[in-house]
Assembly symmetry: C2
């Protein structure tokens, strides 16, 4: 077996990295950077996790250049970490074993819009907002919306979803195929552009969610949706968080094709009012949105209103103007930052559990009680239509006690969700932060994942130290 | 490297199989069968491909029993072939290297219906009709409908879809997770019951479509859909096949959420009239169905009618009574047998290309011209809303010329679809019949598939000789 990157001595590793940097500099000139600030920014984690900077950052401009970089790193057993926009939350772009960060931001071309097939082919560095800006005049849009303006390559790699997923699915559902550079430098296109295929193993779905540990996604074919003829939405407060969850459960079970249904707890509403200058009632609140024809959204809204009222919710406050809706959803997307602002200087421990919808109210209620019991400051928000919710524990990282308390809480929450037949991560991925829960969730499945990893990346050069220890 | 099953000498293989049969007989008694007729039936291919019978058939009744069988076979490097109902079309259940057929028909328990989560947990031997019969009173149904009353384990393994896929997706979209016995006898559950997850590699989607080459699926968690409040549908003839395809393209591009939209060419309509006692106009025809609320389906139908008329289609003949609709769809499902009846004694060469919807009319037209030019008898039907269509070439297998002509046609069609950025198989799978097109379609991707296969099944005991030669 070849020596793994993690197994090298520090000296050998240092020499190999120096050699690779030298070769890359000759090949890429100014597109290879080693400044401490840039390297630190490329190990940036958004959260409490500590930055582990790569040794250098390179900016490729084509799939062939990525393949060249990967072959050079493979020859010297130097780790390769793909970097999109750095908005992942579980330490995905950290470089615990050093190595080369491959910054995809210059691969931002829209290669082809096939409006007649409802798909688009793009380079992996295109961000979701850039894509939607580009598509504006086509009547189509890309619906997956994780909040951050992430790159599509990064979103695919973490199997991202977000507020629209309850209606439009996740990256697993919207990626028709990818082009990827494998750890040996080979370029693979995982699928052609047909809407469905039964041709062999589903390599597309294998690369989606692999967190850059099996290869680097360089191009994607994405399925698009038609911009709905009508959009309606608004906010609806509830007397308590359990009633709000029960209204969500009933809405989903009734088959109302809600496009977005988001929960904000009392604390999050307070934080958003302050951060985003809103004047919402301070109460557990659902943000909802309906997509369809004019009569369709009217009917959906009415049915939802009846369900909300059944659980004591209301009054339902309609945002009829597009700019009011945009303001609401921008506030929802900024909820993470609004939460951080509740305690300046604190770091956020993010959580991402997802449970079967029937267990949602129970899971949220137990979690709220847990937060209360342990005196944590941890607002709750969530894509509750999918049974997915987040809490952000605000922690003074200088206070060891607080850090330990937060870690214990994160662990309790992950195991609570798993015990309810759910997952420790609905959409953020495992990265470094959730590694300890994967075996609890999938048991022997982790052995299968490791077998695949060893087969495709025997030298463990692709984003090592993520998902599991090989 | 361990000796592969295909590499054994005939003698060694014979001795190993005899030993395994002996052990299995002691363990399973009458549930291990070796009669020639039963073995031949378990290599049955439905199509022109020749039967390659296994050496024995075993009938497990639990996941643990499947694991036991697999461990015994693994110990002796004897092939294991999972068998559902034998309705696959590409030789999936054949045993080219002999071995043990694992008949899943006794694993037919519905384990749990979670109506509140819109999912169901079943054993892999449950058929789609049995599942829908069971669900009848819940207001829910399982929408994937490949025509044949296949087992759900088999449908997952071939990544099946069918008439409803245009609205409800394929097995890739509806399988939430599986329990599988891996080639080493380990039992793996690929996912928990949360609606979405970002926890590591997508093992669920890896097993879906793996055609039993990576393990045997023993249990599945399936997503269900609500039975629509209203269903409307009917048949609409067109002056020629290209106009019918263009009407389909426009319907899909307009975003009409059609539940089913199926093409039958003139010859298929004639065959169905004879076989299923219908009296349809003999013309290229679309069978369509709309699901939704009463006003919803009325609106969809009206919009479709306008599009059909634009392309010279009509009159649109409504089937308002449920029994008339059932009769139509039964005829559609029997189209394969109706086609065979056009030439008694002939065998069918089935094809399964799928192209981007914008290329559908072109692909169908070129294929019709190809059929005409070569004087083949080959009716065309298809799930055209997904860009997927089938032709069945009726061949006298005694006539070498005819066989060669049919093979050349199948090859031209597969490569035509691939050249249009489509696939040689939309839903039937690769099996034995489409192996020669996989590399043309996915190039270096096939190397990645083989690496995965070798990692998970190093002795190549799981359904060897399917998808690719390891």
């Amino acid at each position: 077996m070849a020596m793994s990157t993690a197994g090298q001595t520090a000296n050998a590793r240092g020499a190999a990295v120096a050699t690779v940097i030298d070769i890359l500099r000759q090949r890429f000139g100014e597109r290879l950077q080693t400044s401490a600030a840039l390297c630190a920014q490329h190990g940036h984690t958004t959260t409490w996790m500590k930055t582990e900077a790569p040794d250098a950052v390179v900016f490729p401009e084509s799939t062939e250049e990525v393949a060249e970089i990967v072959r050079i790193c493979a020859d010297h057993l130097v780790p390769v970490i793909a970097f999109g926009t750095g908005t992942s939350l579980e330490g995905h772009v950290n470089a615990p074993h050093g190595g080369i960060s491959v910054d995809m931001s210059r691969m931002d071309r829209i290669i082809a819009v096939h409006a007649e097939d409802l798909d688009v082919v793009i380079e992996a560095g295109v961000t979701r907002k850039a894509l939607n800006d580009y598509l504006r005049d086509t009547g189509l849009f890309f619906p997956i919306d994780p909040g951050a303006d992430a790159s599509l390559g990064g979103m695919a790699s973490t199997r991202a979803s977000g507020t629209n997923a309850v209606r439009y699915g996740t990256m697993k559902d919207t990626v028709l195929g990818v082009t990827a550079v494998m750890p040996n430098g080979e370029i693979v296109r995982t699928a052609r552009r047909a809407k469905k295929s039964a041709a062999g193993y589903d390599l597309t779905r294998l690369m989606v969610g692999a967190e850059g540990t099996l290869g680097i996604i360089t191009e994607l074919t994405l399925r698009l949706a038609g911009i709905p003829e009508a959009i309606a939405g608004g906010v609806c407060p509830f007397p308590d968080i359990e009633s709000a969850c029960n209204a969500v459960i009933m809405t989903i079970q009734s088959g109302i094709p809600v496009a977005r249904i988001e929960l904000l707890d009392e604390l999050t509403v307070k934080a958003c009012n302050a951060y985003s200058k809103l004047d919402l009632n301070v109460a557990p609140t659902l943000f909802v949105e309906f997509h369809g024809s004019e009569p369709g959204v009217a009917e959906q809204s009415e049915r939802f209103g009846e369900i909300a009222a059944e659980f004591g919710g209301g009054p339902f406050d309609w945002a009829t103007r597009a700019e009011d809706r945009s303001r609401l959803w921008q506030a929802r997307h900024d909820a993470y930052y609004a939460s951080l602002a509740l305690r300046p200087g604190a770091k956020g421990f993010s959580t991402d559990v997802c449970v079967p919808i029937s267990r949602l109210a129970e899971c949220v209620a137990e979690t709220a009680a847990d937060i209360e019991e342990h005196g944590l400051l941890a607002p709750i928000v969530g894509h509750v239509g999918d049974g997915n919710f987040h809490t952000v524990v605000l922690v003074d990282m200088e206070n060891e006690n607080e850090v330990a308390e937060a870690e214990a809480y994160v662990s309790r929450l992950a195991l609570r969700a798993i015990a309810m037949d759910g997952t420790c991560t609905g959409e953020h991925g495992i990265g470094q932060g959730k590694m300890k829960y994967l075996a609890a969730e999938l048991g022997t499945g982790v052995d299968v994942m490791k077998a695949i990893k060893r087969a495709i990346d025997p030298d463990n050069i692709m984003n090592p130290g993520k998902i599991f220890t090989v």
